[in-house]
Amino acid sequence: MKVIINSKEYQGLPGETLMELAKRNNVDIPNLCHKDGIEGQGRCRLCMVEVREGKKTKIVSSCVYPIRDGLEVVTNSEKIIAIRKNIILLLLLKTPNNDYIKSLAEEYGVKAPDRYVDYKVKENCILCGLCVKACEKMGTSAISLINRGTTKKVSTPYDDPSKDCIGCGACAEVCPTNAITMTDKNRIRTIWNKEFKLVKCSVCGKTFTTDEALQFIESKLGKKEERICDSCRKKIISEKFKESFKYF
């Protein structure tokens, strides 16, 4: 399958989306809600590109648009850049104090008119939904997008501590704007209003992960694992190495 991006020809694989093809060939399409390994969501709309079909052109979001043979795509036309700037402006108004969005706005030369900006807003979430997808991938689905309109947010059911959450922190790691906080303090991990007692390593006594996460691993591996932290495991195996090389 041949696809032309910015008047250069690329070979596409069947079933690929435009974003995947562009990423594979190092064509830059800005995005916030896309991650390899997670299906495109088409939520942040920053990955908009222009697709030409004959005389007509249309604007599509590349992370959910499947490629076709002979597709002609432009990723940086004036129209597209104007759309991107608009989206960034709206994001900036929603999260005026977020470092990542601020740097993005700077990159595109977007400035929010002062009279519209409320600098007291502490919001960091742009509702891209990556955290929800990541949690879904883990098979836990502890969080989801709730409510509609201005009250829309990411949370656990009824904002209560979720019994499904395993405290892995994948949601916090994938968040493009660092909106999710996970704290480990006094052997307690706090995330999504839930408190986890961290597991102590049976060798060194340091805390390393949550019991729920270890149970997740055990269910995947189908066998019981000892509660040993990664650095102690390394020590145990290198100790064996040492024993076998001692008399060389």
Binding site: D36, C168, G169, T209, F216, D230, C232, R233, I237, K242
Partner: protein, 159 residues
């Protein structure tokens, strides 16, 4: 048979250059914490043991990865890591039976040995031959080696 990293602790001097070379190639910094190889010290017996991913045949890390960011390459035998796919759940870090997975909070990615796509930097930096990148012995070769030792022990003139 696939090529692999062969570690000889008896030759290691404990200079830890491999750690720096690895972290520089993986994360553009000279930080042993961001290295996929680490040298363990045993002063009591005068040994240093470089420890790195063993590229298991049935890797636990691959089994627990929910987004297929970790994959076992059947041809080369290497367990590869795709940081673009990784969602940072850190399950592989706890699942590795040898503790050879590290999660870098700064880089938001797992640091794991992938033999530098067939050009291991640690081997290049090792001046003492403690790390070697070479063809691994097949099971048949290993049997032959053991059988030869038996032959020497029981062969003519030995007893």
């Amino acid at each position: 048979m696939a090529k692999g990293l062969v570690v000889s602790p008896d030759k290691c001097t404990g200079c830890r250059t491999c750690e720096l070379a690895c972290s520089y190639s993986k994360s553009d910094t000279f930080n042993p914490k961001d290295s996929a190889i680490s040298v363990m010290f045993y002063e009591d017996v005068g040994l240093q043991v470089p420890m790195t991913c063993l590229q298991c045949d049935e890797p636990h890390c691959v089994k627990v990865c929910v987004v297929n960011a970790l994959t076992k390459d059947e041809k080369t035998g290497v367990v590869n890591y795709d940081k673009e796919k990784c969602i940072g759940c850190k399950m592989c870090v706890s699942a590795c039976p040898f503790g050879n997975m590290t999660y870098s909070i700064r880089l938001k990615e797992v640091i794991k040995c992938d033999l530098c796509k067939g050009d291991p930097q640690c081997v290049k930096s090792c001046n003492y031959g403690a790390l070697q990148y070479k063809e691994l012995d097949s099971t048949l070769d290993k049997r032959k080696i053991i059988a030869n030792q038996f032959k020497e022990a029981f062969g003519e003139g030995a007893i």
